[in-house]
Symmetry: C2
Subunit: 327 residues, 2 copies
């Protein structure tokens, strides 16, 4: 039986999704001979801590603060004091300085603790530094969930296509802007109306700029450029143009000629921009789906398509990373 | 430095593609610390054999029979006499009895030799028997190249999505029939004309039945059902309906309603049939591409798209399998 003591930092949508998936996969993990013991769940103002294991069912139901394991101890102290085997850094991203995720990841790695994260910002800003820190401390930093949600794009390459050299990567990496463009195409409506629909469905924030201005896509382009194409870049090096200027007329014209307009992250050229994609092309996926095409030398184009977001879906990537660390 | 002595059985399009890819990846393999030594290349009427390593460049250029390493010794004897570490079984498939591939694979496994194959028929007919034989002899039987050519569908699941339960699998698994249906859609032509175009491009045999009657798809459905869904079936258990009855009128009507007609292998239901796929769906890929959608419980739908055939492309899957055996 292999086992790991895990601290979850950030118990929002993603953290709760992971906890749910863990409950759902109890039997499978047992069969696999793996015991994942959640010894801490850290929030902004304190943490649940229990070396014998947090009761996740209870944590998922009620307010964390009202539970008997609650303590005002915060994540950095939990890391240093309890030294879990794996830290799951699941706090929301912040592309200005990467905090608080960046600090949590550094604290864990420098304490010899492996990290699995869904937090894009720290990696998009400080990829090389964090990878060196992991290497120096002989631990792992895994981040499948940062790009494409449930899509196992990084592990796909590392585990099954590594014989191939990647010439470039093209991706639809933001579900919200893909949903907006698809709606504009299907319903012949303008951007504002499509954004409103996305907001009503909970697919877009009240300020949709992070998605439709291409920032989220640029963050993911930076992570793919570093991790799969060995480029030493920050997301600030990515040239970004979002979809604000895409008109229903442009989409209509594109369709007449057999094309869709998609917001494409072009990793080889470190660029994000709306591009024409032929109908029937593997990247021509509609709705809020994400798609990533690897242009390789032997296998040629390999595209993988799936849910780019969603609490339970993202847990697939997080669990896969955790299991790879547990071994 | 890890190394493996390999015998290639079958030196047609796929075998030559593998040899080419091996030449192309010499530097990469060296960096990886792996030495792949081809000690035999077997054809129907004899073999090149050289324990010091076959000169692949020479083998790729001229007729095998005229080379100094040529011997009338045949594959089964090479396997028993030279005991390579890995046998690459790359002979053409034969869905009647799986021979000669089935015999080669059994001979290798029962001699304690791991096998990598692109030969669908033996696996579609005798999956369980071959897997038991591999297990009993403590060796591996890998077959990524049998389904979807360059698409790493089996290793994708085994290495990156295994935490997920597969509820079903839907696939466009035959490039020829997908090309024919795409042409009928794009050019509003009949099946016979589209098949002719495929034949002119070398995408279809003079007897196109194996592809357009769905037999090839059924063979792959059987392999996926066994390997990814634990079903103990032979390809003879698959209900098959090909695309012969698909008319330009049906395709036109489907398009008007926003659908494409695709030949779908439905692995969960052990069925092959033409089905309606919404435009913009991940399975709506055109041309000779293949696509496989895994319907899973946590990640939900994950689709992978790529070249289903091609000598060099298929070598990506073969090499990936070989490297997994070498470790």
């Amino acid at each position: 039986m292999k086992s790991a003591r895990i601290a979850i930092i950030g118990f929002g949508v993603i953290g709760r999704g992971f906890a749910q998936a863990l409950q759902q996969k109890k039997k499978y993990l047992k069969e696999l001979g793996v015991e994942l013991n959640i010894i801490a769940v850290c929030e902004v103002d304190g943490s649940l801590v229990n070396e014998k294991g947090i009761d996740l069912e209870k944590a998922l139901k009620g307010e964390l603060k009202k539970q008997s394991d609650w303590d005002s101890i915060k994540a950095p102290v939990v890391i240093e004091k309890h030294k879990p085997d794996i830290v799951l850094e699941l706090t929301p991203g912040n592309v200005k300085d990467g905090e608080p995720g960046l600090g949590h990841i550094k604290k864990a790695l420098s304490n010899g603790i492996s990290v699995v994260t869904s937090n894009k910002a720290p990696l998009a800003l400080n990829y090389s530094e964090l990878m060196s820190l992991a290497e120096d401390n002989n631990v792992k930093l895994k981040f499948e969930a940062t790009v494409g949600g449930a899509i196992p794009i990084i592990n796909l390459y590392q585990n099954t296509l590594k014989i191939n050299e990647i010439r470039s990567i093209y991706g639809i990496l933001n579900g919200t802007s893909n949903f907006v463009l698809s709606k504009m195409d299907e319903e012949a409506i303008g951007l504002d109306d499509a954004v409103k629909e996305a907001q009503e469905l909970g697919l877009a924030e009240s300020d949709p700029g992070y998605d439709i201005d291409g920032i989220d896509t640029a963050v993911k382009v930076a992570i793919l450029a570093n991790s799969l194409m060995n480029r030493k870049v920050s997301f600030r090096d990515i040239k970004v143009k979002g979809i604000r200027d895409v008109t229903p007329e442009a989409i209509e014209l594109a369709r007449k000629h057999g094309y869709s307009i998609k917001l494409i992250g072009d990793v080889g050229n470190l660029e994000v921009s709306p591009r024409l994609v032929p109908k029937g092309d593997p990247l021509d996926v509609s709705g809020s789906l994400n798609a990533v095409m690897l242009d390789t030398d032997i296998a040629k184009d390999i595209t993988i398509v799936g849910r780019g977001a969603g609490a339970i879906e993202t847990a697939s990537s997080l669990l896969s990373d955790v299991l790879e660390i547990v071994g």
